[in-house]
Symmetry: C2
Amino acid sequence: MEINNIDVRNYPGSTKTYVEGKLHDIRVPMRRIDLTPTVKIINGEKMMHENAPVYVYDTSGVYTDPDVTIDINKGLPRTREKWISQRNDLEQLPGITSEYGRQREADKSLDSIRFANRYAPRRAKKGCAITQMALAKQGIITPEMEYVAIRENMNNEKLGIKSHITPEFVRDEIAAGRAVLPANINHPESEPMIIGSKFLVKLNTNIGNSALSSGIEEEVNKAVWSCYWGGDTLMDLSTGDNIHETREWIIRNCPVPMGTVPVYQALEKVNGNVKDLTWEIYRDTLIEQAEQGVDYFTIHAGVLRAHADLIGERLTGIVSRGGSIMTQWATLHDSENFLYTHFEEICEILAQYDVAVSLGDGMRPGSIHDANDRSQFLELDVLGQLTEIAWRHNVQVLIEGPGHVPMNKIKENMERQMSACHKAPFYTLGPLTTDIAPGYDHITSAIGAAQIAWLGTAMICYVTPKEHLALPNLEDVRNGVITYKIAAHAADLAKGHPGAQVRDNAMSKARYDFRWKDQFNLSLDPARARQYYVESHKDDD
Amino acid sequence: MEINNIDVRNYPGSTKTYVEGKLHDIRVPMRRIDLTPTVKIINGEKMMHENAPVYVYDTSGVYTDPDVTIDINKGLPRTREKWISQRNDLEQLPGITSEYGRQREADKSLDSIRFANRYAPRRAKKGCAITQMALAKQGIITPEMEYVAIRENMNNEKLGIKSHITPEFVRDEIAAGRAVLPANINHPESEPMIIGSKFLVKLNTNIGNSALSSGIEEEVNKAVWSCYWGGDTLMDLSTGDNIHETREWIIRNCPVPMGTVPVYQALEKVNGNVKDLTWEIYRDTLIEQAEQGVDYFTIHAGVLRAHADLIGERLTGIVSRGGSIMTQWATLHDSENFLYTHFEEICEILAQYDVAVSLGDGMRPGSIHDANDRSQFLELDVLGQLTEIAWRHNVQVLIEGPGHVPMNKIKENMERQMSACHKAPFYTLGPLTTDIAPGYDHITSAIGAAQIAWLGTAMICYVTPKEHLALPNLEDVRNGVITYKIAAHAADLAKGHPGAQVRDNAMSKARYDFRWKDQFNLSLDPARARQYYVESHKDDD
């Protein structure tokens, strides 16, 4: 199987640049937008004033670096490999260790769709605490930590803008659990990034095929496309055939951390029969995915039977797929959610690969009516207890949040999460602030996402225009990402993130000067801005 | 000249209904969305549960009433005519009284583009205080007031939902200046609506041709289209040829209040030469438009020379067109803004027709950088003084607000407006919460609009995706209106407006029941929701 290279180019008027580390031998990518000078005619004389270039955060990886030859069939350069291979706390395994992974490897019929390059996975040496959190607690500033410190600051130092973000600050936030640096040791293609309320607000995009729709090429396309437009992380929510092989293609070509919901694949392995789910199958799935390089797992370990009993009070019951699967399983087996009862073992596995846990909110409200109800907040308290367990294992933790929440109830979500979950980063889906606009739920939810991010949510999960109606296509991914970049950036401005306003000011000045090309190039979506302008001006002159 | 009828139909699954008044002989339109029953199979038996219909606010006028024959060339039924003609405080003039209006009337060359039906305008009898505010102060509940009380409540009484909105409450809010009921006595086609922070949040749309682009038919189309999707008021910002005739076509076919910025037309009358603007030309323009039926005028009377001197502190100077014209005029004539010096006379004219004044914010910030600066807030204080003058003349007052404001500076705008302008309704343009997303400014601004509306802004002016780039076409108007309906409704929910959540709950239940047709019909944009669903499901089965 060969996949065509994805057609993304560098952004217009922009140059890929790299800033070097001071502590480590690292190169941190940024995008420099060059501007034209301001021209004024004063007393008949043409005066030119230079406009300084603007440096912006760049999630697109080497796809936009003209010096790198992209070959989707070979995968991205494994930049972190060098740092990882030098570590003494890791061992290279002779091969993959999950039962399912080995089965798939041995299955000749899959050769035709398999990603060609294969890498033996790494794992922590016995007794070694290897996660970024474990290292941070020991006072170690890893290359990943210095990388994100430089990355968050853009060009602040040169511009004379003061910033609180230093490598030591990054280390301290990770050690305290207030920030997460998702960095599975088996995903060396990923460019380090950080999720925490004192950093730039991040956005996650969801992709994934379902049984009926897209294939491998389309999913890899969506992944690259999402990074190109500004997605900071990516969740692969595939439920169709060949999940294992599709994931391999995506991870090997993915410059941002990738997350999954392992129970989705575990359920596929038992043909969708919830009753047949077992801890053993789930456990094997965690290992399978951890060895492929998944950076964070959504795990619905906080949905307890006692909470499920309260959903009679709701208009829309349980809308989280993971929450619904686990509640159903617990009822069928008349026992507690096995993700809850096995949570310590889960953490032991995750700690060996530095997979972060994203504690899923199985009780997230699915409607304005159900927002902030008892079952939602009872689960949140459990997520707080699980956070403490994970941290004891040095597993990094994200807390997932709603969902559907009217504006007047958003603040309570943030406050309760902060106190119940000990300031672990909050990661919310929207929230949607009304239910009456299907087809426009990127907007109903961006209104909520901007607010909750301003209040302290560290990462917002995008919603596309097709939410509630269909799976997103490439254009929907683009619209979803740009809409969420807007929400995230509006929050960065409101929080006064160092240097966040530099790009706005450059845009405003370009607008005031009628420098159209600069306006397009400074836009979140240069192609769209140019298109609207050109279409309406094509008949001029 | 003949214009084709606008192709809007009734909304799917919906019926136009009317609720009758108790105090007056009035019929208030609403849209009833009928729902299918919930079907459950219990023990092999099919159980059906009825779902009550949902009543929603309807801005579309009789365009969606199948019992009314629409003829754009004849204009809408003049529903308020009966109420107005019975009043003793008004007189019918023999003909139009503005000089310019008479000139246009006498110009045979305009016959081909003229709206055919002509009506002699009405005006207050000498010494009579005839505005809704004047009547409210006298303790009179007009038909318009009862109409909006019923309209705001939808079906609350039948649903057992308590509401603070009674005809007497409406009267009291108008008397105190906290709400505006725009109702020029010469626009009897308009269906009464109310703008105030204790009522449903309203949205305004801007249309208007420029010299280069659209003609009369296109503008009438945009007006009807805007009402169909949910626009509550409409501003005609035309600057091209035949403004007078275009406006006549729009008003005679417009079921919502219409506003203008009279100085735009005044400037056309002096061929765009700011220096040649005079109070006399402007005054004649006010009368011309008041006699056509314009319901509110944006007047930039608060831009003073002293404030203009402060714009050196700004990145983007003065971006309000009206503000820029008046500042330029004042500088060229070395004198104070004539709208400020003649404000008492302006109020005397407006009071005779019940035209509301919308005090324009000529100093509104045009960038994140300039938000909440000195010149902006100094002007706001002047608008507060002008509000008191207008109220003495019983002229209803709206206060216009920004613009470009980061989220953390939105609250200060609302609080200062409330205190400086004595709780006159606030009417803001967005605000845009970042400058870096041209092509998506409906979204950057809806994020701000939802927040400021929640805080108390009574009406939000839409922004379309083409803002800063081009004039909107029909599809842009639709996207702008729906986006702003979302922002307004999210604010209604957050404010707990009586009955606002009924539609959300019905949608959520339909979603939980998988009643797809009901989900489409309950949507703000049923056609779009259906389209997305159908496109993605066309290959199923």
